[in-house]
Amino acid sequence: MDIIIASFLEDSIVPKFNYWIYVILMMIGLYAMITKNNLIKKLIGMAIFQTAIILLYVSVGVKADANIPIISHHGEKDHVEHAQNENLDSASEASSHHGSKKEHHVIDKNKFANPLPHVLMLTAIVVGVSTLGLALAISQKVHGSFGTLEEDEILDQLRPGGYD
């Protein structure tokens, strides 16, 4: 019975589950950004929205049975040796063609997760935190001049004096 449930999960739910959750998180974030009244809450929504996008990208790069995208064929002890060898070899290897390379140069691409989405998402995280920081600074300025972080209260304050 357990096996049946497990296989059902694995066949039908798991393959797209990440994408579903990403959509749900994105909807939560977007909804908060649009409808929340408090500026900080809007920003939390924004952060959730951005992590949802990261979830999408990272899920793309996942491979079943894959490792992290860092190559480590050799143990720690021959790492040094190898580095020394390499300097010696590099001159001779430079002219030799591909086939003569050592065994560990042949890399099975299915053994490593796709690094590109990770790189992209590093950038996206940085952009996210930058936006968050700047937005927090702006909301502090808003609080400084209006004394509140609630959007409706700010608009109430503006209405008598503002003309638009």
Partner: protein
């Protein structure tokens, strides 16, 4: 407003969900993204071309180094943007020396902080330097280094942290970080290659073309780390004092 918000969110949600059935399965090795030539190139050729086992670092700092340069610029913009928006140059900018350390956390927290801070900073430096072989790199290390100063400010008060890392110094460090990154790229230009083409530097760096790339990556990572450290601290110090830089949390 709520209704329209909900409506638009649901429409977008359904739009996105409708596309997911068309996606390759999660973890599919043969999806275009995972088996495509670009990704395969990164996995198969990175070590050969750059001698960097951590593909993420290699892609980040070399293949897509131009992106990362702008990523650093984004951080930089956030830093000076916060200063531009929030900073007020009041009269009480400098707190007398004898008040240093008046604020901050209790004794226990201070002791703990002073114990772990060196290790945090050491580890941060390790992360920056060892990003080629293990997870990490300039950005993560920089954030940790910045966080160590934030911790200092939290435990001993902002004034104490500012004595190590004054505003002027944060700006200099931030600019210096980007200068190192961009300058490294310009160095490649001067050597007669494209911008950020580190292979041009093999004549001045030891270890051949591949190692030139590897060393260059370290250089730009250090640049990133400098900027990120400075900006993270500047961000915190401005946000925690409403731009007055007088007294922390």
């Amino acid at each position: 407003m709520k209704f329209f918000g909900l409506l638009s969110v649901i429409i977008v949600g359904f739009l996105l969900l409708s596309a997911t059935k068309d996606f390759p399965n999660w973890g599919d090795e043969d999806s275009p993204a995972n088996s495509g030539p670009v990704s395969s190139f990164y996995i198969e050729k990175t070590e050969e071309k750059t001698k960097v086992p951590n593909m993420v670092t290699a892609v980040l700092a070399d293949y897509r180094g131009y992106d990362t340069m702008f990523e650093t610029v984004v951080i930089f913009i956030a830093g000076i943007g916060i200063i531009a928006v929030l900073r007020t140059y009041g009269s009480n900018e400098s707190i007398p020396k004898n008040q240093v350390g008046d604020e901050g956390a209790g004794l226990l927290a201070r002791m703990t902080c002073s114990l772990i801070l060196p290790f945090i900073q050491l580890f941060a430096l390790y992360v920056v330097a060892h990003g080629h072989h293990s997870p990490g790199g300039g950005f993560q290390g920089g954030v940790m280094l910045g966080a160590s100063y934030i911790l200092l400010a939290l435990a001993y008060g902002l004034a104490r942290a500012k004595s190590c890392f004054s505003e002027k110094r944060t700006l200099v460090f931030a600019a210096l970080g980007i200068f190192i990154y961009v300058g490294w790229g310009v160095l490649c230009l001067v050597m007669g290659s494209e911008f950020l083409n580190y292979s041009a530097l093999d004549s001045i760096l030891p270890g051949g073309v591949e190692m030139a790339r590897s060393h260059s990556m370290l250089a730009v990572e250090i640049g990133v780390a400098l900027t990120v450290t400075a900006i993270m601290f500047s961000m915190f110090s401005n946000l925690s004092t409403k731009g007055r830089l007088d007294k922390g949390l």
